[in-house]
């Protein structure tokens, strides 16, 4: 073990806005092992995409380190960064805006090859054969090679986005909600394709989604984000069997099938969402948390390892003690 491909340390991204600083990503820390998948879940606007884009340095992080194969990518100059981009790619959420409407399938997939001179000295025919190979890998029929994106459906477009990423021969791919814009029937196909590619090429994924069922199927480790911060981090099995943070519990209860004879209803998230603009110095989930107490206003809870490999950021959960359990009674009573 210990073959860490990516390590993120204290990553922050603040956006200026007229009303103050948007804390889109606020001190995120994790690492991914080679060949594994890290699932990132959280509701819309919690900073998942911003995190993914900072890691690829598509936008400049405000603070922190992103260490890919031992090198801090935030410190690379333009040339080094261009070199590194071959190893790190991204698959986008919206298959309708992620492909240039003016380019054909051939142009879209060959662009990274030609632009980065990945096949130095290759003839047009050789590059085209490579494109056909990639199209075959992602399951796009050869006859679509001259099609424009608007002639294709969402699933095919997403496959082309995947082929474009694969054209660079990457080691690590950020999948930013790659199926959430697709029909349910097509979602499974794309997920299976991604899984197959991972196995065949030894890819490492950071898999962003707001759908816990998808992430369960896919991930080794999962981080749960809330307003720019990690509130819980654990291997997939642990997180699903023993969710600790109140937010994770609420998310999970929304997808779990009610147990036979069980009395556990899904937990409704109530209350207003704390604004990501200059958030107050308290637990960011406090406004919606059923378990909140005075302690929760005493600053932002740190992410602690409460049991092996299981990290939680909550004032009421510490290694060896879980105050929430005691409160369970009066929560359901009240």
């Amino acid at each position: 073990m210990g073959d860490t491909i990516l390590e993120v340390r204290n990553l922050k991204k603040y956006f200026k806005s007229p009303r103050g600083m948007v804390h889109a990503v606020d001190g995120v820390q994790f690492s991914i092992e080679r060949g594994q998948t890290l699932g990132v879940v959280g509701e819309s606007g919690c900073g998942k995409s911003t995190l993914g884009r900072c890691i690829l340095r598509l936008i400049e992080p405000t603070e922190g380190e992103v260490i890919f194969e031992g090198r801090d990518i935030c410190k690379l100059n333009k040339r080094e960064l261009k070199e590194l981009r071959k190893d790190m790619q991204i698959i986008f959420q919206d298959p309708f805006s992620s492909l240039n409407p003016r380019k054909t399938v051939l142009e879209i997939i060959s662009e990274p090859i030609i632009f980065n001179k990945l096949m130095k000295g290759a003839s047009k025919a050789e590059i085209e054969n490579r494109v056909l190979e990639l199209m075959d890998t992602v399951g796009i029929a050869e006859r679509l090679i001259n099609s424009y994106p608007h002639e294709l459906d969402g699933g095919r477009r997403q496959r082309i986005g995947i082929a474009r990423a694969l054209a660079m021969n990457p080691k690590f791919i950020v999948c930013d909600e790659p199926v959430s814009a697709l029909d349910v029937s097509i979602q499974a196909q794309i997920l299976n394709l991604l899984k197959k590619l991972q196995k065949e090429m030894g890819l490492t994924y950071m898999f962003i989604t707001h759908d816990l069922a998808v992430v369960h199927y896919f991930s080794n480790d999962i981080i749960v984000m809330y307003l720019g911060q990690i509130v819980e981090k654990a291997p997939s099995e642990i997180l699903f069997n023993n969710p600790l943070h109140p937010y994770t519990k609420a998310l999970l209860s929304a997808i779990l099938v009610p147990k036979v004879g069980g009395n556990k209803d899904s937990i409704q998230l109530r209350g207003e969402v704390t604004s990501p603009i200059d958030p107050p110095d308290e637990c960011r989930f406090a406004k919606r948390c059923d378990y909140r107490c005075e302690a929760c206003e005493a600053g932002n809870p740190p992410l602690l390892e409460v049991e092996p490999n299981h990290f939680v950021a909550c004032h009421c959960i510490k290694p060896g003690e879980n105050l929430l359990k005691e409160r369970e009674g009066y929560v359901s009573a009240g």
């Binding site: 790190m88 050869e142 990423a165």
Partner: protein
């Protein structure tokens, strides 16, 4: 290497040759064809261009400049379809000869404004920040000066000549394109394919011009067509008040200016050049409207 040759052997021709490519141009053209107004405009413009070519081939400068005092103010006839002017010159030939001024001004002043304006507008829209601030302020200042006034000032400084007229109108065309290009680029630059290009290592300037601009170009082409109409009018206007093409040359505005003195005696002197100006501007406007619909990507299924 062997795998490649093998594959080539299987498919004797390149796959990209075997499957037809639907061209966006053809699709737009097919839509444009169904628009009668746009087709009328296009035909009028084609006729104008043909007339211009004809004038280059068959009408000499002497033909339109030579004074014939025995032949003044003739009304339209078989021999002189548009009649003759105060110097006895054939107005038909002069008007046809004048197409070259209006069409060149229309085309080149817009092309100039387009290239300069779209370049700066794209930079402003894509890069934002202080670059945008500076470009937009300069463009605002240029836009706040009325085109005619700007033209008069430039011609006054550089002297009246056809080239200076062209430069003057070209400059007054810049700011419109800066603003259009910026707005259009802003609407495209947030697309994920821009980030995809960044992710494969493309430089920002390359992304701006090779990925974003081609997707912002449709509204600019529409603007350009409409601008040709206003530029033709501006050229005629400046010539009319003596700031354009020097007088004896048969620019349409200058022809009207000359004819104005004999409005009741020989109304045809203003009528025919007036009709030509109207036809060209009207045709451009119709074509512009048609292009707006034909190039609209939302109509693509």
């Amino acid at each position: 290497m062997t795998a490649v040759t093998q594959k080539q052997g299987q498919s004797a021709t390149l796959a990209s040759r075997r499957y037809k490519k639907k061209s966006g141009f053809v699709e737009s053209w097919n839509r444009l064809k169904t628009n009668p107004g746009a087709m009328f405009g296009l035909i009028v413009l084609i006729i104008m261009v043909l007339l211009m070519i004809y004038s280059f081939l068959f009408i000499t400068k002497d033909d339109v400049m030579a004074i014939n005092s025995g032949n003044r103010f003739k009304p339209p006839s078989a021999q002189h379809p548009f009649g003759t002017d105060s110097m006895g010159r054939d107005l038909f030939k002069r008007t046809i000869y004048g197409t070259r001024y209006s069409l060149t001004v229309g085309f080149f002043s817009v092309a100039f404004g387009f290239i300069v304006g779209v370049f700066f507008g794209t930079i402003a829209g894509y890069f934002g920040g202080w670059v945008e601030e500076i470009i937009m302020r300069v463009s605002d200042v240029m836009a706040s000066i009325p085109g005619m006034l700007l033209g008069m000032v430039i011609v006054a400084v550089l002297g009246p000549s056809f080239l200076n007229l062209l430069i003057a109108i070209g400059i007054s065309n810049i700011s419109g394109f800066v603003r259009m290009a910026r707005a259009s680029v802003l609407s495209v630059k947030g697309s994920e394919f821009v980030e995809a290009a960044r992710a494969i290592g493309m430089s920002e300037i390359r992304i701006a011009f090779s990925q974003v601009l081609p997707n912002s170009i449709s509204p600019l082409i529409v603007t350009a067509t409409a601008r040709i109409a206003t530029s033709v009018l501006a050229a005629a206007g400046l010539s009319f008040i003596g700031f354009g093409v020097p007088v004896p040359l048969p620019e349409w505005g200058a022809l009207i200016s000359d004819g104005r003195n004999y409005l009741s005696l020989a109304p045809h002197l203003t009528l025919f050049p007036g009709i030509f100006i109207m036809l060209v501007t009207f045709a451009c406007s119709l074509l512009g409207d048609g292009l707006r619909d034909a190039l609209d990507p939302k109509l693509k299924q």
